[in-house]
């Protein structure tokens, strides 16, 4: 750990937050490597938002430390140029236009108004930029929040429940956007209370429950842990099996077109088939799904 410390983008070290007698975050430690997309998961009230607030210097930890790019967030010079954040969809004055919201933020870090128009185009909000935010849909507000996060062209994005209120098209747009963002070696931390929402986006997951880290693993490992299988129907069964074998994924043929894939997510199987150019007629996750495991890991202990 010590040898890699300097290269980690985000480090949480025994972060703890107490509100009176309630332990909201309990000795949470994790590190994010550059170029990764990490899902920060847990049910509502697990301590996700409190953790993000401590990472960003909005709340003081009761004990433990958080650093971003090697320093506590408030000590970074003009942190908005390195870290982009979307905390909640509601952080706008309803009477201010979308453009003015971005302009007031860009002024604070001396960015030109031209940058405001750039990010508005990037999130496809340029047409609505002159309207007051109170007329925006939830999806538009999410995109305005994302535009604010992108103003400084950051290397790290921290998003708190960004998929809330997005329609399926918006979720897909966000997924593609984040994928493209991370391919350039940039890093994303994305929180959600629904694993399925981010399963297709993230490389690794941090799952917390009642303020404690319960799982830190790659999505692949988590999927293997599921132990479920994926049933596939394809006219090119042999070709798909070959592609799976190259990724060391086991599968058994069940009939002429049917295949049962073990220890891989349906997302992974679908992606591999696509890369191999294999047409898929049916793709079904069987047994316990990722969501089942997530619910199991984050369940309230039975009395």
């Amino acid at each position: 750990m010590t040898t890699t410390t300097s290269t980690q983008v985000v480090i949480a070290d025994s972060l703890t937050k107490r509100f009176g007698s309630v332990l909201a975050v309990d000795s949470l430690s994790f590190a994010l490597a550059p170029g990764t997309i990490t899902g920060f998961l847990g049910p509502n009230g697990a301590g996700k938002t409190t953790t993000l607030r401590m990472l960003l210097g909005l709340a003081k930890p009761s004990s433990g430390t958080a650093s971003i790019f090697g320093r506590p967030y408030p000590e970074l010079a003009r942190p908005a140029l390195r870290v982009g954040t979307v905390l909640e969809a509601a952080d706008f004055h309803p009477g201010r236009t979308g453009r003015d919201h971005l302009r007031m933020l860009s002024r604070a870090v001396s960015l030109p108004d031209a940058r405001v128009d750039e990010v508005l185009r990037l999130v496809e909000l340029d047409a609505a930029a002159g309207r007051r935010v109170k007329g925006y849909s939830l999806g538009m507000r999410q995109r305005l929040g994302l535009a604010a996060a992108l103003l400084g062209d950051p290397e790290l994005l921290i998003l708190d429940e960004p998929a809330n209120g997005l329609d399926p098209e918006g979720v897909r747009w966000l997924r593609d956007f984040l994928r493209a963002f991370a391919t350039g070696g940039r890093t994303v931390l994305i929180s959600s209370h629904v694993l399925a929402e981010v399963a297709q986006t993230v490389d690794q997951v941090l799952i917390i429950n009642r303020g404690r880290l319960v799982v830190e693993s790659s999505l692949e490992q988590l999927t293997a842990r599921v132990g479920g299988s994926v049933r596939v129907r394809t006219p090119e069964r042999a070709k798909l099996q070959q592609a799976l074998q190259q990724e060391r994924i086991e599968s058994t043929a069940v009939n002429e077109q049917g295949l049962l894939v073990h220890g891989a997510s349906s997302e992974k199987v679908g992606d591999l088939a696509f890369e191999a150019g294999v047409p898929i007629h049916e793709l079904v996750a069987e047994g316990s799904s990722l969501e089942d495991v997530f619910l199991e890991l984050t369940a309230e202990p039975q009395p």
Binding site: R53, L76, R107, A108
Partner: protein, 244 residues
């Protein structure tokens, strides 16, 4: 600090609330100036003190600059924009200092408009009714400069009040209840203490000579002291409070 102040000034300019506050100020000063300038009987407008009362109606702008200052802070907490504000400028003292400076600058603008309007109407009323202007140049200067300084300081004081209280309705009610009720009661019953209260300090600053008021310079110093006290409290509290 300069960048943040530019951001804060933009915040003031880009909400309709500010336009509403300015309109309210203009309407109220217009109304009071015209009423007292036209309806007061001529013999009651001849003394220096009478005319100073008429010509200082514009100092009501202080209430509105304080409201604008309160809004500059409480709007951010009410609508959650304080989070992006602190994420873009995590040294919170810089944000509060920029807001104080912006409150002061907005206060100067309010003062110029409010006092300009009040003085012009009052003066025009006197002239049109053939009443001789009774203030000497020193008194006129004190009235104009004192009003401007007072209204500007109330803008910063509003920022301080809004930061300490944070709740928008609470701040506004607190300001009005204190300025129009509590402080008047205090001054009426315990003038030796009441004259050190901020609204009566600003009355003294513009040259009003009501019994028990402090001399103008002392009034200005006391109002400045109140502003600094609130500013320091605001910076200190903001540094230590979590943002939820």
């Amino acid at each position: 600090m300069i960048a943040q102040t530019r951001a804060e000034l933009l915040k003031i300019r880009t909400t309709r609330t500010t336009a509403g506050i300015v309109l309210g100020m203009v309407a109220l000063i217009l109304l009071f100036s015209l009423l007292s300038g036209l309806l007061t009987k001529a013999p009651n407008l001849t003394s220096t003190e009478d005319q100073r009362g008429l010509l200082s109606v514009g100092s009501l702008a202080g209430v509105f600059s304080a409201l604008a200052g309160i809004m500059l802070v409480t709007n951010e907490y009410r609508h959650g924009t304080i989070r992006p504000t602190f994420l873009f400028t995590p040294r919170r003292s810089q944000v509060i200092e920029a807001k104080l400076a912006s409150g002061l600058l907005a206060g100067i603008a309010f003062g110029v408009v409010g006092e300009g309007l009040g003085f012009a109407i009052g003066y025009a009323c006197l002239a049109s009714r053939g009443i001789d202007y009774a203030l000497n140049s020193g008194q006129t200067t004190l009235l104009l400069v004192g009003t401007l300084a007072g209204v500007a300081l109330w803008g910063a004081l509003g920022v301080g009040i809004g930061t300490v209280v944070r709740n928008q309705v609470g701040s506004i009610i607190g300001l009005l209840a204190w300025g129009f009720i509590a402080e008047n009661l205090l001054f009426a019953f315990v003038p030796s203490i009441g004259r050190f209260a901020p609204a009566h300090a600003s009355d003294a600053l513009i040259g009003l000579t009501t019994t028990h008021l402090l001399p103008a310079a002392a009034g200005g110093a006391i109002l400045l002291a109140w502003t600094i006290a609130f500013a320091l409290t605001a910076v200190t509290l903001t540094a230590h409070r979590d943002v939820t």
